[in-house]
Subunit: 383 residues, 2 copies
């Protein structure tokens, strides 16, 4: 339970919010943003923040400096809301389907520069056909697979060249390549993570070079994931880096070593509703509806409660969830001090994965412990 001791008024407001709710520590959030900006600035590569994590227009002024700045989205709903806000430069980073092209065209007509993603000749063909039929130009990135974790073509494939050429001939406009090192989330060591980051960059460089060798220029060479973004040492030839989770951070990022526990800016505030002393369990009113079912890298944990001293060795783990119930147990080898968690008291559950836990909530309760203020930031939802 966080005590807002410096600000009694804030503590009162905090206690008046019904549990469970999503708590965002604004100063941590701002610090995470500043840290990534500083890192990117040293690398000399622009950041294209991924909106899919925070997914709130209220947070946008902190994520980007100006509405001209580039941003990444995971849904057209996000793109449309950002367009209404005035944003100009969007990358829609999920493979395009034919039925979504009309909405892309409407965004273009609103003056937004939106780039779509594809990795198959079928997609190239229907984008070209759509542009031909409608008399519009849709800019495309080709997804390159760097580690076998999602879609994408090989950087050394003939398909890459053929697709880029075909886009050039049609009205689909080839803009460059995009990579996402999905493997980075599963790295078990700092070395593996550095290797994943280098591999992502090297694969991007290879793809761009091969295209260049046949006279096709990549205006965009886009790489990224929070773990690799935190790990690049050289981004030569890369035009932009995408990352989303870095703004909030979570237990998965902590276990990868790219943030400290103290950097994690969000938690789910929950009330203790029961004790089972014989089984060593505490029941809280946050189940999967508030936490999500994301177990991150720990198959027995839906989030953790840090003890007041913040030591991980004394954490409680959410070991089981129902829709609106969570069950906490002490981390192995330790016992729960039930007096620290009386029925009716509150706990802050730190999530495994910021994106999936935040997605269970319609808004953030944003606490600024320096300014002593509280805000509500609404989240964008749907597709």
């Amino acid at each position: 339970m966080i005590k807002h001791t410096e600000h009694p008024d804030l503590e009162k407001k905090y206690n008046a919010i019904g549990t469970p709710f999503l708590y965002l520590d604004k100063q941590k959030f701002l610090s995470n943003l500043a840290q990534m900006r500083s890192h990117m600035s040293k690398l000399g590569t622009p950041l294209r923040p991924h909106f899919k994590t925070v997914k709130s227009l209220d947070a946008l002024p902190y994520l980007i400096d100006s509405i001209e700045d580039p941003i990444t989205v995971s849904t057209l709903e996000e793109a449309e809301q950002l367009a209404s806000y005035g944003c100009k430069d969007i990358l829609y980073a999920v493979g395009i389907s034919k039925e979504k092209l009309l909405r892309v065209e409407l965004l273009l007509k609103r003056g937004m520069s939106i780039v779509v993603l594809l990795d198959s000749m079928e997609q190239v063909d229907f984008v070209n056909a759509y542009c031909q039929e409608r008399g519009c130009v849709i800019s495309c990135l080709i997804e390159i697979d760097c580690d076998g974790h999602r879609g994408g073509v090989s950087a050394d494939s003939e398909a890459l060249i053929a697709m880029a050429k075909s886009l050039g001939k049609g009205l689909g406009n080839f803009k460059g390549v995009m990579l996402h090192a999905g493997e980075s989330y599963h790295c078990k060591s700092r070395e593996a993570l550095n290797q994943s980051a280098s591999n992502e960059v090297a694969t991007a460089q290879l793809a761009a070079k091969r295209l260049e060798s046949v006279g096709i220029y990549c205006e965009i060479v886009s790489v990224g994931s929070t773990p690799t973004a935190c790990s690049y040492t050289n981004t030569s030839g890369i035009t932009e880096v995408r990352a989303g989770v870095y703004s909030l951070f979570d237990l998965v990022m902590h276990r990868l070593g790219v943030c400290t526990l103290n950097d994690i800016a969000i938690s789910v505030v929950s009330s203790v509703i029961g004790h089972n002393k014989s089984r060593g369990q505490i029941f809280v009113d946050a189940g999967w509806m508030a936490l999500s079912l994301d177990k991150g890298h720990d198959e027995q944990c839906y989030g953790v409660v840090l003890q007041p001293n913040g030591q991980e060795s004394q954490i409680l783990k959410v070991v089981q969830v129902n829709q609106e119930h969570g069950i906490l147990e002490a981390a192995s080898g330790s016992e729960i001090d039930f007096e620290c968690f009386p029925i009716g008291s509150r706990v802050h559950i730190v999530p495994n994965h910021a994106c999936s836990t935040s997605a269970m909530h319609s808004k953030y309760y944003v606490f600024d412990l320096v300014e002593g203020q509280i805000e509500q930031w609404q989240r964008v939802s749907g597709w």
Copy 2:
């Protein structure tokens, strides 16, 4: 892909809805409701449907016959929305916390009969104290643990008697007992399920009998879960049965043997956005944001796509999900016929767990294949 062949207009509307979206087959939904009603009617025990699964006021007229009918909720937000609709008889089936009592009192003042749940003397004490201070009467059920899966006191415990007595002395009003056979979701055989159902009923009967022996009458003896509700053969002494998933059904219920695949009324409609023929994978635009991360009883599956013939032996499984991507592979031993799933085509992903998959969506697209009509049913969200 469902073909609405009888209704070309419906097919057109279906194709105009952007993927991913939540599809509800209204006739299957109605049939599931009718089946449970008939079963309960034979048992002679009233049903108190759990609103937490469908969670839509638009669906309510089908779930209950009249606003006087009993209903179960998992959040106070549900209760408040049901109160606005005019419902009169609510059981809030999650352990009460002190901070929620004001909202309960406000519901009582609106003329609703709302019953709360508790399982500790601490909760009895703060409910009594609240009622004393505010001059109100809050009706309570005591949760009985029948299989060690969640909260609750033992049916044979002294705590049960002490809590019921203490509620009787204070202004907290003792109404009866409530049980939920959490174990039933994990049963591996029909026998185990029948055993779980009998145990739930027998434990409830024991609790009520023990209370009666000390002169405390249980007006409500509430049991339920969809698996046990489908399995009761005798509900003597039981005043009501709670169930939620039965209205939609899902793969977990199918694997438990309480529904057929054809009974499952919901699916997530998704577009094929890529093929990886060498890995035998299909990429779709439904990730965990549309499907949830619920793996049900299958650690390698976030939902299945039934082949047009509906045979489970030819299903595709969603073996991996990112935020907005899903990866399908053929069930073991078979190969994907990629020509059946061209890029741009649609698949219906049947969920492991109706509650958690539906919770990822703000609304249902409800298709009535008999009437040839489509509706949108909004879901209640938040707490």
